[in-house]
Amino acid sequence: MSEEPQVGIVLVSHSGPVAEAVVELAKGLAAGGATAPVAAAGGTSAGGLGTSAELISKAARAVDRGAGVALLVDLGSAVLTVKAMLAEGDELPEGARLVDAPFVEGAVAALVTASAGGDLATVEAAATDAFGYRKT
């Protein structure tokens, strides 16, 4: 095993249960064993539907190992909140990046790749590749 720090993954959904469930799904599919750090940031801090900058910031700090943090997002305010936080500059760890990917498929690809020791660019490429998997 490499001693290099792994890329952290944050899953930002409009819904707390969706974010938590996708974290569990990705962990379950990523491997039997330890995975790269991954955290959910779903819903508002009061537990409603929506997005919380506070939860996102907390999740990103929790998974940051110094190798970058990939943020995957679902709808509307989740997308805009992460973009606005990145534009601010100091609300997310250094090397935090919004990854353009389908939420569920991208989360699995990102976590598998990060757990295998991929760097941030490789994790991003794997998550974005999930767009290419057609279902019909």
Partner: protein
């Protein structure tokens, strides 16, 4: 010239307007959105009022920057990052000045509105807050009262438009015939600006 206290009163007046109109904003959002715009805006601007009292920012730019950051943290819906970016970018453009002219505000506000357009990927006619903000920016250099009138007219002009951004865009043609809630709240922000300046600045209704 507009000083720090003016900007603080602008934010307080916006909070009062948003509270007064919260149920109307939510009704508009129930027609084409997810029926939370009034509550979200009220929560955000209540938090803005509280943080301005607690932290006493020293310049006009600092008032808007702090208010913007607070909106992004507390609103919970898409209007949080959008309004947050609007105020924060405007505040940053004002820099460290202790007082600003209407012309300087107009220029800085233009930068804030451009940042909103970039963040949301929207343009004029998409039935969004920009339909009130863009005409307001145009009119702001002449007077705050003109900006208020332009923002109101812009918000009303969203009624026949079909939404092309956000959740309302999923409704397609069914979004036609309803005033956009984001444009309506944007008009409240500009109305509060004119109201804060009072009649001498062309701010009487």
């Amino acid at each position: 010239m507009l000083d720090t206290d003016f900007f603080r009163r602008w934010m307080t007046a916006t909070a009062a307007a948003v509270s007064r109109e919260a149920s109307r904003l939510t009704d508009l959002d129930a027609a084409i959105g997810d029926a939370d715009h009034g509550n979200n805006m009220q929560r955000g601007f209540t938090a803005v009022t509280a943080v301005l009292e607690k932290e006493s920012p020293a310049t006009p730019g600092a008032v808007l920057t702090l208010a913007g950051r607070q909106l992004i943290s507390t609103v919970g819906g898409a209007s949080g990052p959008l309004y947050g970016t609007l105020l924060r970018r405007t505040g940053k453009a004002l820099g460290e000045a202790a007082e600003v002219s209407t012309e300087e505000l107009a220029e800085a506000f233009g930068e804030g509105v451009a940042a909103v357009a970039q963040l949301g990927g929207a343009q004029a006619g998409d039935k969004t807050m920009l339909d009130a903000l863009l005409p307001a920016v145009e009119a702001l250099s002449s007077s705050l009262g003109a900006a208020r009138d332009a923002a109101r007219a812009g918000a009303e002009a969203t009624v026949p438009l079909q939404a092309r951004k956000g959740r309302a865009s999923y409704l397609g043609e069914r979004s036609i015939g309803h005033q956009d809630p984001g444009a309506t709240s944007a008009a409240l922000l500009i109305e509060a600006l004119a109201e804060t300046a009072g009649p001498s600045a062309g701010g009487d209704a």
